[in-house]
């Protein structure tokens, strides 16, 4: 499967190398880049659960190495592609852990949190940020299609009924499986989160 050959210095991806990576990750089923985004998301979450501060960077580094191996070797036999990506990710994690022993990362957001407890002004700023986040969310929700809004309100709202039962009824009403419903709801939610983040950045 994966050996030390994949653990080499990072190089820049060329458009051709990247296109080959997208096609290989699609594994024969054209996804318009969705396959790449999905694997990248999963890798970033994996690094994050391993408490790596730069989880997105590590996911990118992993996929860059996979792409370079693919370009150099012409093919990677391991299936599904995500299995090979995970094997490379483990090496990337080990490297990062080794580096971590030398450098202690500074968690800026935590430092800000401690300060905010001490200063009244920062607490007010946090309240403002919360209000702004809500305004952004309102704006992003209004940009959704009506049926998408209805779906997430029904799917995620606090319920007087048992949650599973309510979701099952929703899936029946929409004529889709519970899994398909969960994926649909999650995609809308992730889209909203990205929208709120962008809105916050524009502030």
């Amino acid at each position: 499967m994966v050996n030390q050959d994949v653990v080499r210095e990072d190089a820049k991806l060329t458009p051709d190398t990247f296109a080959s990576l997208l096609a290989w990750l699609d594994d024969g089923v054209e996804s318009n880049g969705e396959g790449y985004l999905e694997v990248r998301r999963r890798l970033a979450s994996y690094f994050d659960r391993r408490n790596r501060p730069a989880a997105d960077d590590l996911a990118d580094k992993t996929l860059t190495r996979v792409a370079i191996t693919l370009a150099q070797d012409g093919a990677i036999a391991t299936r599904p592609p995500a299995r090979y990506c995970f094997a490379v990710a483990k090496y990337v994690l080990l490297e990062d852990l080794r580096r971590d022993r030398r450098l202690v990362p500074f968690d800026e957001s935590r430092a800000t949190e401690s300060t905010s407890i001490a200063t009244h002004g920062a607490a007010a700023a946090e309240r403002d940020a919360r209000e702004h986040r809500l305004d952004c969310l309102d704006h992003c929700l209004q940009n959704l299609k009506a049926e998408q809004r209805e779906l997430i309100v029904e799917y995620y709202a606090e319920s007087r009924q048992v949650k599973i039962q309510r979701r099952r009824e929703l899936a029946v009403r929409l004529g889709i499986s519970m899994n398909a419903l969960a994926i649909r709801a999650w995609r809308i939610r992730e889209g909203l989160m990205a929208c709120v983040r962008q809105c916050g950045d524009r502030r």
Partner: protein, 308 residues
């Protein structure tokens, strides 16, 4: 090994196990298997995402059991990326919980829309008055122009309809006024006496259930009273802390008080300052103090505040 077989095929996968994985509670060799499955196995990846969102939502709504909540705070919140998810979930849960369910209201209303409702109601009333005026004018002119009898009858009928609608509106207004008066009474009483309970809360279980809702009128009351039912009355004195799950700060604490016993069992009654309660989720953390003066965590009670 068939590379397409699920990685966790020998493991009965349930949501509790995924929660334990997300909170770092699995032994290392099991966590490693989940790590791989979370990247390689489509079904596990999808389910994990759903469980994670539900876990975060339960945290921001204050419905996590106390041990899970503590673990969530010490482990899950250690990552800035996950804290961002929690901050988003706090806003998101508030937004979706404020929305009427789709069956009741098919179209989306922005958050500021409820504030406009009184204005819209006044506008509707003015339109009604204007319509009645126009109708009267039409009838007067109609007489002068010798309108056909049938037309006048139709207008009379419309006038009667409007009159009936006016009467209905007057009745509805009277009902609302009565409801407001009723709603104000217990809250006002709570300012002086905790006997008038605004919300009775039962001990929380491990399951993530529905949260009791306290629908507060916009009345200028000083305090809102709560009755926290006890599973067992094991302590001499109790103290209640009001926790805001979005900041995880305890924003108010009661004095140490004794439990009261009634036919329903033992309970602790406290009155929380009204200005502290905003439309969002809260938990009431209950601590008990024994005769030896040692304080213990008894449990937590989640509730949600909405505003009429």
């Amino acid at each position: 090994m068939d590379p397409h077989q699920p990685l966790l095929r020998d493991t009965p996968l349930d949501d509790q196990q995924l929660v334990r994985y997300l909170l770092g509670l699995l032994p290392p060799h099991e966590a490693d298997r989940f790590d791989e499955a979370s990247v390689v196995d489509d079904a596990v990846a999808a389910r994990l995402r759903g469980v994670e969102d539900d876990l975060v939502d339960a945290y921001v709504r204050g419905t996590l059991a106390i041990d899970l909540r503590e673990r969530f705070e010490s482990h899950y919140l250690a990552s800035p990326r996950r804290r961002e998810r929690v901050a988003f979930a706090a806003a998101f849960a508030r937004a979706v919980d404020e929305r009427p369910r789709p069956a009741a209201l098919p179209s989306w209303r922005p958050r500021w829309m409820p504030a406009l409702l009184p204005v819209l109601a006044i506008a509707a009333a003015l339109l009604l008055v204007a319509s009645a005026g126009l109708l009267f004018e039409s009838v007067r002119l109609g007489r002068g122009l010798s309108l056909a009898e049938s037309d006048r009858a139709a207008l009379d009928q419309r006038a009667r309809d409007l009159e009936r609608q006016n009467a209905d509106l007057r009745t509805a207004n009277a009902d609302i006024a009565q409801q407001l008066a009723r709603a104000r009474t217990p809250v006002a009483a709570a300012a002086q006496d905790v006997k008038a309970i605004a919300l009775v809360l039962l001990p929380q279980t491990r399951s993530v259930g529905a949260v009791p809702v306290l629908d507060l009128p916009a009345a200028p009351a000083d305090r809102v009273s709560f009755e926290l039912r006890l599973e067992a009355n094991e302590f001499n004195r109790y103290q209640v802390g009001l926790r805001d799950p979005t900041s995880n700060a305890v924003v108010w604490r009661s004095d140490w008080v004794g439990a009261k016993t009634s036919a329903e069992g033992a309970s602790v009654r406290v009155a929380v300052p009204r200005p502290l309660l905003k439309p969002q989720h809260y938990t009431l953390d209950l601590a008990g103090r024994s005769a030896s003066d040692t304080a213990h965590v008894v449990g937590s009670y989640a509730f949600e505040v909405t505003r009429r």
